[in-house]
């Protein structure tokens, strides 16, 4: 089989390997069968076309035709037999539309839907054609990596934050295979390979040149791995791991926890979006509603919090009532109407906590009792309108203190207290919860740690600290937004042995009449803590001043209030305290006056950080300036040195008045040295002023050229000629020139050059003297050349000791 045909088959194989990422999208492997068939047929068409020696365009055409036939066969409308008809194409268009709908309505992994399979097979088939043409016809297999990478971009787009690694490796192996095959084919077409002693070299045996490639490859891989570790900002910000969707990596391992939308990623996406988009309009009869809630992240791994796929019963079977089996508290029933805009498309329904009844929804919505979320695998919230009834529970701190102790074997406790070990977090938690008896007090202690008094500020961008875990660096920098606050509080609560998770939803939004308008700016995350007998209690640790529509409850008051809130809430711990009054006190929809205080608090600490940053910036700028001045200083020092070397012994006082003249002494050696120093200085000056130096020119000609090139007038011209004559005589005559005032001449030439040069050249000559830079560059080049020579010598020495010399085949 000829090299081209074999290469075509390799291209097909590589395409199939590169299709591996699709496995994380689909639930089953139907797509793989269809893609195998399609790519195989396309490869067969390519081989056939090449056997018949079709021209390149005909090869491409045959592959496209085969792709079309295969698609017609696999996804036909049923009316045709292999030959596509107009109805086939309209069916394809329908499949496209269906696929578009499916991508919106299904979370990954998706079931085998015809539309999605059609798009997949079409895409992979097109990639196969592109790879084949690029590799075999255009002989540019490196470019074939682009369409192969396009396949990988599909899971990248779906899993926003965490990217499956294994399929990428498989795809990369396919690409490597393609490159290697192409190179081997090239070498084969060149001819047979022999070693120096005439032995035939096998195809797969690396040539001596391959060692350079291996070395380069190793260096590249090491650099690619090490650089992101060394540069912390590349890792993508603080807590990116802490809040990563833990299920992403696990895709394809078959544990069934298929990754849904990454809640953290979509949250930060919504918050950092520049435009404000209305998502939800909500009407409720409750005066101070809490946050709308739609999802939780309750899996804490080394990678941070992640969601699990909710499982539960259809909502038609009814929702549980939280009032049964609770240890106390006051409950009030409310009713809310929700209207969702077309901008919010997700499989999770925003409702209040403790929803007891839902209507206005189609079939297909389920309720997860553990996570207390309403979800659907098929339906989307887009443009939904529904009503729900919910129960608002109000607890007082005193009541919550009565919560029973947690049983460590309780499945809720077991599942929601697992956490990675982090020494910094453990120390802080131990310190904060010391002396606290009840679970509630411990949580309160942790919760109150996140106050502006402790230096915590709100910022959408975070500052990672190298070599420390994300949570530890957040606790140190104290800069973050709701995602970090919620995750950190939940982690610390788990560290204290209390079940905790991160809840996602919306803050209250702006009130428009009796309707709350919720936009993407209201997207929020907070912490939920499990207290036995009370269930999941929300705590919002994010500084309230920076969260539009933030709310606080009386068991978790705003920690940034000027009055020490812990004592205030404890004095108000009477069980008969008016819940609405207490709630009213902390209601913050329209920013009561004390919010200014907290705002100025946070801005004050921001200013402190800023001034610190400013110092660093100024320091760096000064350092940069100093570095920039190094060449100029070096130049001045060189000039001083040359002048000084030639100065005859004089009282030291004169040297303070500036460089003394080069007085040529009667001593010949001295005079020669003087002339040489002056000439070197003249050369450097010429380089500085961008007058080229020609090593073939004699001093006389150089001086003449300097006069004509730089248009020197009388005095500088005479000075240049004098310098040339001095150097000429110093080099070639029996007696050097004596009595010439070379320093004066040098200064005159420099002034003359500066006069005829433009401003830019003048500035560069002073600040970034090209002579110094060139000297450094040449020095560097020379040093590297020496290094190469030395390493070559070392290699030769080592090669003598290499055991390979003893291998038997060398003699053949």
């Amino acid at each position: 089989m000829s090299g081209r045909r074999r290469l075509g088959l390799v291209a097909a194989g590589a395409t199939l390997l590169a299709a591996a990422p699709i496995s994380s999208i689909f639930d089953s492997y139907t797509w793989l069968m269809q893609c195998l068939l399609t790519v195989g047929l396309i490869a067969g068409a390519a081989v056939g076309a090449r056997t018949l020696r079709f021209p390149a365009w005909a090869q491409a055409l045959s592959m496209i035709v085969v792709l079309l036939f295969t698609l017609t066969w696999l996804f036909g409308s049923g009316e045709e037999f292999l030959i596509p008809t107009p109805s086939t194409f309209s069916h394809f268009a329908e499949l496209f539309t269906q696929a578009g709908q499916d991508t919106r309505s299904y979370g990954v992994p998706v079931p085998d839907r015809d539309g999605l399979l059609f798009v997949t097979v079409l895409g992979i088939g097109s990639v196969a054609i592109a790879v084949d043409l690029l590799t075999v016809v255009a002989r540019k297999p490196a470019l074939a990596g682009l369409p192969m990478l396009a396949i990988y971009s599909v899971p990248v787009a779906v899993y926003v934050n965490s990217v499956p690694v294994l399929p990428f490796i498989v795809g990369a192996i396919g690409f490597m295979w393609l490159l290697v095959s192409d190179n081997i084919d090239r070498v084969r077409r060149f001819g047979r390979r022999f070693t120096g002693d005439g032995r035939d070299v096998d195809v797969w045996e690396p040539s001596p040149l391959a060692s350079a490639g291996r070395r380069l490859g190793a260096v590249g891989v090491v650099a690619a791995v090490l650089l992101p570790l060394l540069v912390p900002t590349i890792s993508g910000g603080l807590l990116s791991q802490l809040t990563q969707n833990g299920s992403g990596v696990g895709v394809g391992t078959g544990n069934g926890s298929g990754g849904r939308i990454n809640l953290f990623a979509s949250l930060s996406g919504q918050l950092s979006q520049t435009e404000v988009v209305e998502l939800v309009r909500l009407k409720t009869d409750e005066s101070t509603p809490y946050y709308l809630r739609f999802g939780v992240a309750d899996q804490l791994t080394d990678n941070g919090f992640g969601s699990t796929t909710p499982t539960g019963e259809n909502i038609a079977q009814g929702l549980p009532d939280p009032r049964t089996g609770t240890a106390g508290g006051s409950f009030a029933e409310h009713r809310a109407e929700v209207q969702i805009s077309d901008k919010l498309q997700q499989g999770m329904l925003p409702v209040y906590q403790n929803t007891v009844g839902l209507d206005g929804l189609q079939n297909g919505w389920y309720f997860d009792d553990n996570q207390q979320v309403v979800y659907s695998n098929r339906r989307s919230t887009k443009e939904l309108t529904y009503n729900f009834e919910y129960v608002r529970a109000r607890y007082t701190p005193a009541l919550l203190r009565q919560a029973e102790e947690l049983n460590p074997d309780d499945p809720i406790v077991r599942r929601n207290t697992t956490h990675p070990d982090d020494a910094a977090v453990a120390t802080l938690v131990k310190q904060l919860t010391a002396g606290k008896q009840t679970e509630y007090d411990k949580v309160r202690a942790l919760y109150e740690h996140f106050s502006t008094r402790n230096g915590f500020t709100y910022r959408l961008s975070t500052q990672p600290i190298a070599n420390s875990s994300e949570i530890a660096s957040f606790l140190q920098t104290k800069v973050g937004y709701c995602q970090q606050y919620a995750a950190a509080l939940a982690w610390m609560a788990r560290e204290a042995g209390i079940p905790a998770r991160v809840a996602f939803g919306f803050t209250r939004g702006e009130k428009d009449g009796d309707t709350y308008v919720i936009t993407n700016r209201n997207a929020h995350a907070w912490t939920e803590v499990y207290l036995k007998g009370f269930g999941w209690i929300p705590f919002d640790a994010t500084p309230a001043a920076n969260v539009p529509g933030a709310a606080r409850s009386d068991f978790a008051p705003d920690v940034d209030l000027p009055v020490p809130s812990s004592t205030a809430s404890e004095t108000a711990a009477a069980p008969d305290a008016d819940p609405s009054a207490a709630a009213g006190g902390v209601e913050r929809p329209d920013r009561p006056d004390f919010s200014d205080q907290s705002a100025s608090d946070s801005s004050g600490s921001t200013a402190g950080i800023l001034s610190g940053t400013a110092l660093v910036v100024i320091g760096l700028a000064a350092l940069l300036l100093a570095l920039l001045l190094v060449p100029a200083l070096r130049r001045v020092l060189t000039r001083r040195h040359r002048h000084a070397v030639t100065v005859p012994r004089q009282p030291k006082v004169t040297s303070l008045e500036g460089p003394a003249d080069i007085v040529v002494t009667a001593e010949t050696v001295k005079a020669r040295a003087d002339a040489h120093a002056a000439w070197d200085e003249l050369m450097d000056t010429m380089v500085d002023f961008r007058i080229p130096i020609d090593p073939t020119e004699t001093p006389r000609v150089t001086a003449q050229r300097l006069v004509t090139d730089a248009v020197l007038l009388e005095e500088p011209a005479a000075a240049a000629t004098l310098l040339g004559a001095a150097e000429e005589r110093a080099r070639y005559a029996r007696k050097p020139l004596e009595g010439g005032e070379l320093t004066v001449a040098l200064n005159r030439v420099r002034k003359g050059l500066a006069r005829s040069a433009n401003r830019r050249t003048r500035i560069v000559a002073v600040l970034m003297p090209p002579s110094v830079l060139m000297r450094w560059r040449l020095g560097l080049a020379e040093a590297s050349a020496r290094l190469v020579t030395a390493s070559g010598r070392v290699r030769d020495v080592l090669a003598k000791a290499s055991p390979r010399r003893l291998l038997p085949h060398r003699g053949r």
């Binding site: 040489h676 070197d680 050369m683 380089v687 080229p692 130096i693 020609d694 090593p695 073939t696 020119e697 004699t698 006389r700 000609v701 000429e728 005589r729 080099r731 070639y732 005559a733 029996r734 060139m774 000297r775 040449l778 020095g779 080049a781 020379e782 050349a785």
Partner: protein, 350 residues
């Protein structure tokens, strides 16, 4: 008769006396050859360098006139040979004839037994006759019938040849060409000089009015003075580098000989002395490279096909070859940083 030998040329003279003597000669010659100061100076430099001069140019530009003017300016023995195809070697060197009175062979000296020998149209003689000059030009002696006769000092051959006319000529062999210190071209005079020539030469030949301004003894002293000029080691290195470059140039089949190195330095010394310097400059070598080296080298067939003249090749080498210098002092000579001699032939990029 005590013949002054080349090893005792006479004592050097003070610089002002030297200048007076040499400028007298040059002024004298320029009465005849107008507007050719540089050529006249080079011809004089070759005389002071104890060399031989080959004047090559088209007919009628004054080759023979220059040779004769130089000869007449010096009060010494001058012989002229018109080279023709039937000229015999014995006509040049001399011949032993049988003296019937003394019943013995007697040596009749040929044309070369003079201080200045003007060989006109040298390439018209057969190679056999041309070769008769080989010994006398280099060794300054003539061997006839096993007897060696010393030539007088100064001894200089001034030959002319016509490069265009190839019919009936015998190109000089390499060995012969190598014996000429310099080959100069007269070149056409500029219009003003030509006008002056019309005015002056119309009525009578100014060559007839020319009087000798110096004599052989003084020329020997001039030669000694030129020999005394200092050639620094850097200059000698540069001369060697130039000659080596012609040997390594890919365009050349034959490079310059070691004799040419010697003659290059000697001529440079003479030129420096004529300019009133007591030291040689690389500038002198650069100016002399083409006249001294170009006629000795042979280009490759490729270069000939490309119509590359030896003059162009030599001047290109001069332009490419960096001056020898101390690299610890100035780093700007990047061409010497790495690589071998081939680097010298990189394009002259500025």
């Amino acid at each position: 008769m005590t013949t002054p030998t080349w090893d005792e040329p006479g004592g050097p003279m003070p610089s002002d006396e030297f200048r007076a003597a040499t400028s007298a000669i040059m002024t004298n010659i320029e009465q005849v050859i107008e507007g050719k100061g540089a050529t006249v100076r080079l011809a004089l430099a070759v005389l002071l360098a104890e060399g031989h001069l080959l004047i090559e140019d088209v007919p009628g530009v004054g080759k023979t006139k220059l040779a004769k003017a130089l000869a007449r300016s010096i009060d010494c023995s001058v012989r002229r040979i018109q080279f023709t195809p039937d000229l015999l070697p014995s006509d040049v060197t001399g011949v032993s004839v049988y003296n019937q009175e003394q019943r013995d062979f007697e040596f009749r000296p040929g044309a070369v037994f003079a201080n200045l020998v003007v060989g006109d149209e040298i390439n018209r003689a057969s190679p056999k006759t041309q070769s008769a000059l080989l010994e006398c030009m280099e060794e300054r002696q003539v061997t006839v019938d096993g007897t060696t006769y010393e030539l007088q000092a100064p001894f200089m051959v001034i030959a002319t040849q016509n490069p265009i006319e190839m019919e009936g000529t015998y190109p000089l062999p390499e060995a012969q060409r190598d014996r000429f210190t310099a080959r100069i071209a007269m070149g056409y005079p500029d219009p003003r000089a030509e006008l002056a020539m019309l005015d002056g030469h119309d009525a009578h030949d100014p060559l007839n009015d020319l009087r000798a301004v110096t004599d052989a003894a003084q020329v020997r002293r001039l030669i000694a003075t030129a020999r005394d000029v200092h050639a620094a080691e850097a200059v000698q290195q540069y001369a060697i580098a130039l000659v080596t470059a012609t040997r390594e140039a890919p365009e050349l089949r034959l490079g310059a000989s070691p004799r040419s190195t010697l003659q290059l330095i000697r001529t440079a010394k003479a030129v420096a002395a004529l300019e009133g310097r007591d030291y040689v400059l690389p500038d002198d070598l650069q100016a002399l490279a083409v006249p001294v080296l170009a006629h000795r080298i042979i280009p490759t067939a490729d270069a000939q096909l490309n119509r590359r003249t030896t003059d162009a090749i030599v001047s290109e080498i001069v332009h490419r070859l960096p001056l020898p210098h101390d690299r610890s002092r100035s780093p700007y000579d990047t061409r010497n940083n790495s690589g071998g001699p081939t680097n010298q032939y990189e394009p002259r990029g500025r």
